[in-house]
Amino acid sequence: MAAVSVSRSAGRTRPTLRLDILVLGLAVALLAYLALVPLGMLFLGSVSESGTLFEGGFTLRHFQRVVTDPSALELLSASFLYSAGAALLAFAIGTAMAWVVERSDVPVRNLWYGLALVPLIIPGIVHTIGWVFLLSPEIGWINAPLKALFGFSLPVYSLPGMVWVQGLHDAPFAFVLMGAALRTMDPSLEEAAAAARANPLQTLRRISLPLLLPASAGVLLILFVRTLESFEVPAIIGLPGRVFVYTSRIYLSLNQYPPNFGLAAAFATTLLGISVIALATHRRLTRRSEAYATVTGKAYRPRRVELGRWRWVAIAVLVLYAFGGVFLPIIVLFYSSFLRVYVVPSPESLGTLTLSNYAFILTDDTTLRALGNSALLGVTTATVVVLFTSVIAWLTVRSKTPGRGILDFMAFVPIAIPGIVLGISLIWVYFTVPIRIYGTLWILLVAYVTRFMPYGMRSLSAGLIQIHRELEEAAQAAGARWWPTFRRITLPLLRPVLLATWIYVFIISLRELSSGILLYSSQSVVLAIRIFDLREAGQYTAIAALSMILIVSLVLLVAVLQRFGGRTVRAS
């Protein structure tokens, strides 16, 4: 950064003003406000006596209730069972798919990469509602015939039901992560095992699985944390089934009256603690697996098992997941969107098909406002995140400014904060700080930017690291100062990453529900929240219509953006 510092002449004792330190200081302050202040407020809120901070002294009774309430143990065990169960299910499905696609010669590979990303675009709430339609105990598409033919039905409003729906939802995510792990595993390690006289089963048991263990543990942990933080399934499936986990409990504490903000904060703090421990463990594990990966460091030609006859089994597995996990919920939503009143499909119901739901959606003020808000919020969030994190990433990766380690750490703090915890934290912040943005789009912007910053950071840091320092140094050696170098060398090289990051943040902000669910008002309602609202109002068929519109728009949007962006959007 020598080009930008104001050098002092010999003899002067005035301290130098360095622009980079100033920027860093500002960035740290902003990050502290975004990431640390809410956590501080959350903690203070959890020990506050009255519903406002600084009034009425402090108390531990909220924590007491969290810990000693007779249902506390049940809450803890339900949360763990739900998270572990869904993580394992998603891992099993995702790994099986990843293995089939990466390590065998199944013919539909390229198609599969595209297909596997579709469920990642669909908002969790849409997916969950689709499954509720399918598995409603008496009238679900799957349960109604089961009941009629065999006399039993699959209980969706239960812990197994929650595990099933969430596991299915996260399976594509596991697929992407495990696919990456399989790809970075040197196939010659398995070939060496074969050359050392080990049959395929022995190779799998002694070489492949142990080598995948650190990566697998890492992926399992990530899935665990994701499920722990999830809100859609616990709210829509857990609550009616009276299975409570931390996220739904936070929501409930506020939805009783009088709303118990302190209790909500106490639950949120507990959840945060668990999440932090899990993520810290994950960090340690991934460091070890990186040690395995650096032993061999080249690009690998993939080694594919020839399936022969088993090819059809593999294809069947993939098709089964595609149909059952992805298309079935969409199909049921599609059909239901044309019903006036929700009923089990039957020849009679075919006669009642109508477009009234779509008419409702397209003329409903609140829904249209939600559409507009979502678009605006998405664009703004993506832009702010990309701008902000590019500055921070540049400071942490490229510059030698002192204190950039702190900046890096703080930019990643929000990743440990579950969405709904962030929501309740922000409530506490804006109870105290006299900036009146609660209930407006601004507070949602704050929430979203805070939440998605780590993703931007990760993407942009990786992108910057890949641009060798030497490329910029060559420009400097040719006489260019900082700004022209940045503009002519770094920025053009970084553009694909910037674009891909922007697209990614835009998409995930369209899907976001849990951080906004406690912060919105009718002015600032967004799409996912609107769907949630409509469900509370019992408007199932309208939800189906809105979901269809949402799915189609998102898929089209991603397809178009990918075309322009020229890069695959991968879930990080």
Partner: protein
């Protein structure tokens, strides 16, 4: 790079203007509104004094309409469900062109949560609240409302309005147990709530999980001991706990369960008569009738439009619009489905039932296992 700079500026500018336009403007633009409210308040308080001598509803509405035109909208928080709102609110908008109703729909509990959180965060985002009486009482006790006497108050029976004009009811909910006649075993007769304790309903009963008011009503009707035993035996049938009466009624019609403990009568009637679903209800004695109260916010953003709406809702025109949806207008005139309540006396929910709410809620939750 310059171009992207301009784009960013454009986005920020759009954002700023969007926020300036919405009701959530930062402090600076709140000032002019505050002064409008301040100047409106003396006018409003002056008006009843001079027009105390029986200003008719029409006169009040005409006056308020003129004053409401610059406001342009009324922010309504109501648990009125969307379908019915879509039939009622446009009648208002047609009668008073230029005044739009922005309806935020949530169940009573959710509405309270919203209001409390918004108020604590220093925001005033609603003009009128219309929901169950218990919830109304709660926000009244918090000081989030102000008194307002509608001109048509005299048309309403005493049971449905407060003596000191702190609230007025526009509509009533008959809370009747709903039945899916197609699912019910033939020959089953249900006369009263106790009959739902029959073991044949185990697993086929649904209860709205926030319906504490039903228990409070039971206590008044049967006495505490009987009410508690009734609740316990209902809980023994492992009811499905639902959130939202409309959802519950829709699912009842779809066959998800056989009976519900308490559904909104008009919805049952709509499903039976308009949608031709296999629905019926238990003719209980008495008919638990929940009063849906309406109150004015203490700091409404659109005070004149708010009052205009309240006046209209309680006027004969508004009551007719309500009745047309099948709901029961509080004035008692013109109900579309009199068979919802013409078989027994009405038991009106009143605010003094709310006095023991905490205890009742505790008992309700623990009996049904709601944590």
């Amino acid at each position: 790079m310059r171009r992207s700079f301009v784009t960013i500026l454009a986005i920020l500018a759009t954002l700023a203007s969007a926020c300036g336009g919405s009701a959530s403007a930062p402090a600076a633009s709140a000032a002019p509104k505050a002064s409008v409210a301040a100047s409106a308040a003396p006018a409003a308080s002056a008006a009843p004094a001079t027009a105390a001598a029986k200003e008719t509803a029409d006169q009040a509405m005409a006056r308020l309409y003129e004053a409401a035109k610059p406001e342009g909208k009324v922010l309504l928080y109501s648990s009125l469900n969307t379908d019915d709102a879509k039939k009622i609110l446009p009648v208002f908008e047609a009668k008073f062109p230029g005044i739009k109703v922005q309806h935020t729909r949530a169940s009573g509990e959710a509405l309270i949560q919203k209001i409390v959180t918004e108020k604590k965060a220093g925001q005033d985002l609603f003009d009128v609240v219309e929901t169950n009486l218990f919830e109304i009482k709660f926000i009244m006790d918090q000081g989030y409302t102000q008194k307002y006497a509608v001109a048509s108050a005299g048309d309403f029976p005493a049971d449905v309005r407060s003596p000191n004009d702190s609230y007025v009811a526009g509509r009533l909910n008959n809370d009747l147990p709903g039945i899916n006649t197609a699912k019910l075993p033939p020959g089953t007769v249900i006369k009263t709530w106790r009959d739902l304790c029959d073991k044949k309903f185990e697993g086929h009963l649904a209860v709205e999980q926030g319906d504490v008011v039903i228990y409070s009503a039971f206590k008044k009707i049967f006495g505490e001991a009987e009410a508690q035993s009734l609740l316990k035996c209902l809980a023994a049938n492992k009811p499905s706990l639902r959130s939202g009466h409309t959802e519950m009624a829709n699912l009842l019609a779809a066959g998800e369960f056989w009976v519900t403990l308490a559904s909104n009568g008009h919805r049952l009637a709509q499903l039976r008569n308009d949608d031709k679903q296999p629905i019926d209800w238990v003719r209980t004695d008495p008919v638990i009738t929940d009063v849906q109260g309406m109150v004015l916010a203490n700091k409404p953003k659109n005070p004149n439009a708010a009052k205009l709406f309240m006046e209209w809702f309680t006027s004969p025109g508004g009551q007719t619009a309500i009745a047309a949806t099948g709901r029961v207008p509080a004035s008692g005139k013109g109900a579309k489905f009199p068979e919802l309540f013409n078989f027994a006396k009405a038991f009106y929910i009143s605010t003094d039932l709310a006095a023991s709410f905490d205890k009742d809620a505790e008992f309700w939750r623990s009996t049904f296992g709601i944590k």
